[in-house]
Amino acid sequence: MEVKTLHSMTTELNGRSVNPALAAHLPQYAVEVAGLLAAARAVADKFPTELAPASVFVLKPERMIRK
C-alpha cells in the first residue's frame, strides 16, 4: 500500500485534512493496514458464501447461539 493512497483516502474519501502528525505516521500505517486487510481477506476467502455478519448488538440470548 502506498502512502499517497492513504493520503487520498484521508482527504478525498474521509473529508479530512492531513496534519503533520498524521502525515508522519502514514508510512507506518501503510505497512500495518496492508497487513491487517490481507489478514481479513485471507479469513474471508474461507467463509461460506451464506455466512452473514453478526448483529452489532445482541438483544436476545438466543442470538448468541446458546445451546
Binding site: A40, F57, L59
Partner: protein
C-alpha cells in the same frame, strides 16, 4: 485491621447490624485515598463532599431501620468513563477535562439506588484505548504491588484503588481486556459480564459493539454482589439484553465448592510459546488443582486465532468513528499513542468491518459447538506480570514489541470481547518478586452464575492467595 481490608461480604453485615457506620467507613476511605494517592494516582477526581453527604444519609436511613441491602453504605469508585451528573467526567483525556455530564450513567444510578457511595472517579488509559494506564494527561497509575510498575489498563485506576484499599469496589469497562488485564496485574477480581448484561448507557464508548461494563472487586463473592445490582435490561441502551439479572451470591455456597465432574476446556494453542515462566507455572497449578478435585480437563483446538487480529478491525473502525470529529478539530489534544491508534481506523474499508463481523458470527457458532462439550473455559489472563512504567518493549513470543501500540497484553482477553461471553479474572499466584498473576474463567452466554461459582470454588480453596495484600498495607 482497617475496615477497608474487608470485602463487601464482611462489611455489609457490620453495617446492617449498625456495628459499622457508613459515615465512619467513608471517612476511613477518604483518608485512605489521601494516604495512598501520592503513591498510586488511582483517581482523577475525589468526591469528598458528596460522599460524606451520602454517607450521613445512609447512616440515618440505617439507624431508622431502612437498610437497603448489601451495598448500602459501601464506598466505591468508578472509572472516569462513567457519566456522573454535575461531576466532571474526563475519559482520561484533555479534550473532556471540564466535561460535566447532565445525567448519571445507568449503572451509577443503580448503585445509588442500592445505597452505594461514590467516593471518586478513577484514572484510566485515555479514552480506554490502551492497556498500560500510562496516561499522558493525568499521569501514570502505579501498581500498588510495586509502585514502579504499570497497573495494566485501561481500568487501571479501578484495579489499583481496590488493591490499595482506597475503594471497596470499582466499576471498569472492558473492550479488549480492560477490566481483566488490570485485575490480573493488581491482584484483584475483575468480571466482564456477557455482552448486554450490564447497561452501558452513560459510559463513554470506545467500541459500541465490543464494550462491556463490569466490576472490579476484592473477592469473587463481592463481584457477584455488585453484578446483582448492575445486571438487568435497560431500554435506554441499544446494546442491552432483555434478560433479567439474578442474585448471583445465592449460588456461592458449600455446594459451589465442589468441582467434581466439571468439564474444563483449555486451548494451549492460544498461549503456547507466549507465557512468561511464572505465568505458565501458576496456570499449570490452576489446572492441577481442578484436575485433583475431580474436574475433567479437555484440551480444545479452536480452528482460528484470527479473532485476535481481524477482530481488532471492529474496535479500530468504531473507535475512529466516535472520535473522527475531534481528531480533525483538536487532534493535538490526544496523547500521541492514542492519536496514532485512533487515526489508523480511517483506513479500514467497510468490507473489512463486515468481514470482521462475519468472523464474529462464525466464532460464535464455534464457541456454541465447543460449549456442547465443556462447562467452562480457562486460560491465563495476561501472558506476563506487570512490567515497569515506561518500559519501551516487552516480549511477545520471539518479538520485542511496544505495549502501548501493540495489543500484546490483550492476546488472551480480547477473545472474550469478540465472542461476548462472560469472563472473570481472579488471582492464582505470585511471581518470585511478589507480583500478582491472574487466570480467567469463561462461560456460556448469560451463565455468569456458573462462572462465579467456579471462580468461588477456586478462590475458597486458596486462602493464602485471596488474603495476601499489597505492600501499601504494611
Amino acid at each position: 485491621m482497617s475496615l477497608l481490608q474487608k470485602p463487601v461480604e464482611q462489611l455489609a453485615p457490620l453495617i446492617k447490624t449498625k456495628q459499622v457506620s457508613p459515615l465512619e467507613l467513608v471517612r476511613e476511605c477518604l483518608d485512605r485515598i489521601k494516604e495512598t494517592e501520592p503513591l498510586v494516582n488511582a483517581y482523577i477526581s475525589v468526591l469528598d463532599e458528596s460522599a460524606l453527604v451520602a454517607a450521613r444519609e445512609a447512616e440515618q436511613e440505617i439507624l431508622q431501620g431502612r437498610y437497603r441491602g448489601l451495598l448500602h453504605g459501601i464506598p466505591y469508585s468508578a472509572k472516569d468513563l462513567y457519566f456522573t451528573k454535575g461531576v466532571r467526567t474526563t475519559g482520561g483525556s484533555a479534550i473532556l477535562a471540564e466535561h460535566l455530564p447532565t445525567e448519571n450513567a445507568a449503572t451509577i444510578d443503580r448503585l445509588a439506588a442500592a445505597g452505594a457511595i461514590l467516593v471518586g472517579k478513577n484514572n484510566l488509559h485515555e479514552f480506554a484505548y490502551g492497556t498500560t494506564n500510562e496516561n499522558d494527561h493525568y499521569g501514570p497509575c502505579h501498581n500498588p504491588w510495586d509502585l514502579q510498575r504499570v497497573t495494566g489498563g485501561s481500568s487501571g485506576g479501578s484495579a489499583a484503588s481496590v488493591a490499595a484499599g482506597s475503594s471497596t469496589f470499582s466499576l471498569g469497562t472492558d473492550t479488549g481486556g480492560s477490566i481483566r488485564i488490570p485485575a490480573s496485574f493488581c491482584g484483584v477480581v475483575g468480571l466482564k459480564p456477557t455482552y448486554g448484561r450490564v447497561s452501558k448507557r452513560g459510559v463513554i464508548p470506545l467500541s459500541w459493539s465490543m464494550d462491556h461494563a463490569g466490576p472490579l472487586t476484592q473477592t469473587v463473592w463481592d463481584a457477584a454482589a455488585v453484578l446483582a445490582t448492575l445486571a438487568g435490561y435497560d431500554p435506554g441502551d441499544p446494546g442491552s439484553a432483555d434478560v433479567p439479572g439474578e442474585d448471583y451470591t445465592a449460588g456461592l455456597n458449600a455446594a459451589a465448592l465442589d468441582v467434581k465432574g466439571l468439564v474444563v476446556g483449555i486451548c494451549p494453542q492460544y498461549y503456547n510459546g507466549l507465557l512468561q515462566p511464572a505465568v505458565a507455572q501458576a496456570f499449570a497449578q490452576v489446572l492441577a488443582w481442578f484436575e485433583a478435585n475431580g474436574a475433567v480437563i479437555r484440551e480444545l483446538t479452536h480452528p482460528t486465532r484470527d479473532a485476535f487480529s481481524v477482530g481488532s478491525i471492529i474496535t479500530m473502525s468504531e473507535a475512529y468513528t466516535y472520535h473522527e470529529k475531534n481528531l480533525e478539530q483538536c487532534g493535538e489534544k490526544y496523547g500521541p499513542s492514542i492519536r496514532y491508534r485512533l487515526e489508523k481506523g480511517q483506513y479500514l474499508p467497510a468490507s473489512a468491518y463486515i468481514n470482521a463481523l462475519r468472523l464474529r458470527q462464525q466464532d460464535r457458532q464455534i464457541w456454541a459447538e465447543i460449549y456442547r462439550g465443556i462447562d467452562v473455559f480457562l486460560s491465563p489472563t495476561v501472558i506476563m506480570p506487570a512490567f515497569p512504567i515506561g518500559e519501551q518493549t516487552v516480549q511477545f513470543g520471539p518479538d520485542a514489541v511496544d505495549p502501548r501500540t501493540n495489543p500484546v497484553l490483550m492476546v488472551l482477553t480480547s477473545l472474550g470481547d469478540f465472542n461476548g461471553l462472560p469472563v472473570i479474572s481472579l488471582p492464582c499466584g505470585f511471581t518470585d518478586d511478589g507480583l500478582p498473576i491472574g487466570f480467567q474463567i469463561q462461560g456460556k452466554p448469560f451463565a455468569e452464575a456458573q462462572v462465579l461459582q467456579t471462580a468461588y470454588a477456586y478462590e475458597q480453596a486458596h486462602p493464602a492467595i485471596r488474603e495476601r495484600k499489597c505492600g501499601l498495607w504494611k
